[in-house]
């Protein structure tokens, strides 16, 4: 199975000292992260898109372009591209450019995103939330598959024999759909025959039905089951010992979640322990191997990507966790999953 990492480029003040890294230093550190992951032989690095103060990446295409120039093997993707509020033509052009620079290593993962800041920012209406994504993902796939496109929709001006240039380096630039748990999104990915990514805060069990929906929607749309692909992900933290991993990670994890209404006062330790026990991937290398294998067993995923940075988790801890992932977890997982699973 393929293994990789993703990050939103968190830029959060340290909960105790209140210090915040400079945007400049943070971006350079991201590019270093890509170099390290590339050298360590991971298959993919993906970047989120946010338009909030606590994240440094609002333009993942630009950061991926820089990463393309200093890496050699690793695939460069997003997690996710908030397609609803972008122009698919521009998205395709940018990723085709990254694909050319990197010699065919670019991917797009389109999604609706967990936040909605980009709607007012780019002049879109939340009332069109569903329709915007639906229309734009279809257009993006058209652009990916055809150099000259004639298209008509409701929310974007029509294209009449428009030339889409440059073309990607790969014959078909991979376009994934990221799904957060909404059944309709899994149906859409299946119906369009795109690969599907699912992220989990806790165990992968709730994904079982989403994968089933995905495969059934794909079958009824006539897509070849062999062409379908799935991936899973979620927060990832590894330390030498199980207890150390929990203790090191908890304060930053709790602080990170204060941005969500249900944890406005921080995540209680019992909740954290409950999440870890029920599948949040935090632990020793062996525990992490077992947990990722559960994703594989339950969902039949072809790829796992771990969210390696969160909130103000310090760079040293991120790097140590990444090193364990690449050197102790990944080799075992590759060996154990060398045979393709039968998705259930």
């Amino acid at each position: 199975m393929e293994l990789g990492i993703y990050t939103f480029g968190d830029l959060k003040a340290h909960p105790l000292t209140g210090e915040r890294e400079s945007t400049h230093a943070r971006l350079l550190r991201l590019i270093e992260l890509a170099k390290t992951a590339d050298r360590a032989g991971l298959d993919v690095i993906a970047l989120g898109e946010h338009h909030r103060k606590d994240y440094v990446i609002s333009a993942p295409e630009v950061v991926l372009g820089s990463m393309a120039a200093v890496t050699t093997r690793i695939r460069l993707s997003t997690s996710v591209t908030v397609l609803s509020t972008q122009d698919p033509v521009r998205v395709y052009q940018q990723f085709a450019t990254i694909d050319q620079i990197s010699g065919g290593r670019a991917e797009i993962m389109a999604g609706r995103g967990a936040f909605v800041e980009s709607f007012p920012l780019f002049g879109y209406h939340l009332d069109d939330y569903e329709e915007l994504f639906d229309e734009k993902i279809r257009l993006l796939l058209e652009l990916r598959d055809n150099e000259v496109v004639t298209w008509q929709g409701r929310l974007r001006p029509s294209l009449d024999g428009a030339l889409i240039s440059p073309r990607a380096f790969q014959d078909r630039l991979p376009v994934w759909i990221g799904v957060g748990g909404t059944p309709q999104s899994a149906v859409r990915a299946g119906a369009l025959g795109t690969p599907m990514f699912m992220s989990f805060f806790q165990g992968p069990d709730s994904g079982r039905r989403l994968v089933d929906l995905y495969h059934r929607a794909a079958a009824s749309a006539g897509h070849d089951p062999g062409s379908l692909k799935t991936a899973s992900g979620g927060h990832l933290y590894i330390s030498r010992k199980s207890q150390t991993a929990r203790d090191e990670y908890y304060p930053y994890y709790s602080d990170y979640f204060t941005q969500l209404p249900q944890f406005a006062r921080g995540m209680p330790r019992e909740v954290f322990e409950q999440w870890v026990d029920s599948g949040l991937i935090v632990g020793s290398p062996q525990e992490v191997i077992d947990k990722i294998l559960r994703h594989r067993e339950i969902l039949g995923v072809d790829r796992y990507v771990g969210q390696i940075e969160v909130g103000s988790l310090p760079g040293e801890l991120v790097n140590a966790s990444l090193e364990l992932f690449a050197e102790e977890v990944a080799p075992v997982l590759r060996r154990e999953t060398a045979v393709t699973p039968n998705p259930t």
Partner: protein, 230 residues
């Protein structure tokens, strides 16, 4: 969940998303007849219902309201005005409000920025004839899915419940119990503020005793609502 004897009641669910499909599964497991609808035509959700809640019946929103004894609102609050409000109000239906003012997805909804009313009171004012009960809103869909337990189970979790209509509250409490959770009567609908986003009870997957303590913490989101770091 409770014993398996068939309860002759039809539960309707408006919303076939993350929450709606989990509630449909819990309600069918409890032995209820369950009708579920999305915002559009039946064929849009047929496959979803077949996979996510195979014993529930996919129909339209109007169909749900016409037939159900208890209607659960499981659509985003931003879509509340697209619900069949007149039918909900006119029939004097028992309506369970499982929604939250969830700014990360709903954006800013001016209607729900009024800090002096609980979000469920604002919903009730949109369907004045309905007998509105607030519950299910403060636990995540993943927890609702995995934490349902039969009555008396030592690990059973609790849900807060509030209403201005004591009979409706009792009926819904019975439904919640059959679906696998204890309830704590938090009082009138106005008390719903004690388990809205921003309170300690919100997001809690806790036993009756633990939830009671959180509800009594007395924090209200009046400060938090509409003003959290966003």
């Amino acid at each position: 969940m409770s014993g398996g004897e068939r309860i002759e009641r039809t539960i309707g669910i408006l919303g076939a998303g993350k929450l709606g499909t989990v509630l449909a599964r819990l309600a069918t497991a409890a032995g209820y007849r369950v009708l579920i609808a999305g915002s559009g035509a039946v064929d849009r959700i047929a496959l979803i219902v077949e996979v996510m809640a195979p014993d529930a019946i996919a129909t339209t929103a109007e169909g749900v309201v016409a037939e159900a004894d208890v209607v659960i609102l499981a659509a985003p609050l931003g879509k509340v005005r697209s619900l069949p409000l007149d039918a909900l109000s006119g029939a004097g239906a028992i309506v369970v409000d499982a929604t939250n003012y969830w700014w990360p997805v709903d954006g800013i909804l001016p209607d729900f920025e009024q800090a002096e009313l609980s979000s469920s009171e604002i919903v009730r004012n949109l369907m004045p004839g309905a007998r509105l009960v607030k519950t299910f809103n403060h636990m995540g869909y993943h927890e609702l899915d995995t934490e349902a337990r039969p009555a008396g189970h030592p690990d059973r979790k609790a849900l807060a419940i509030a209403s201005d209509d004591p009979t409706a509250l009792m009926i819904v409490a019975e439904v919640v119990d059959a679906m696998g959770f204890d309830t704590i009567d938090a009082g009138a609908l106005a008390e719903g503020v004690r388990f809205e986003p921003g309170t300690s009870a919100f997001g809690a997957t806790a036993s009756r005793v633990a939830l009671l303590t959180m509800l009594e913490a007395g924090d209200s989101p009046a400060v938090a609502r509409g003003r959290m770091s966003r």
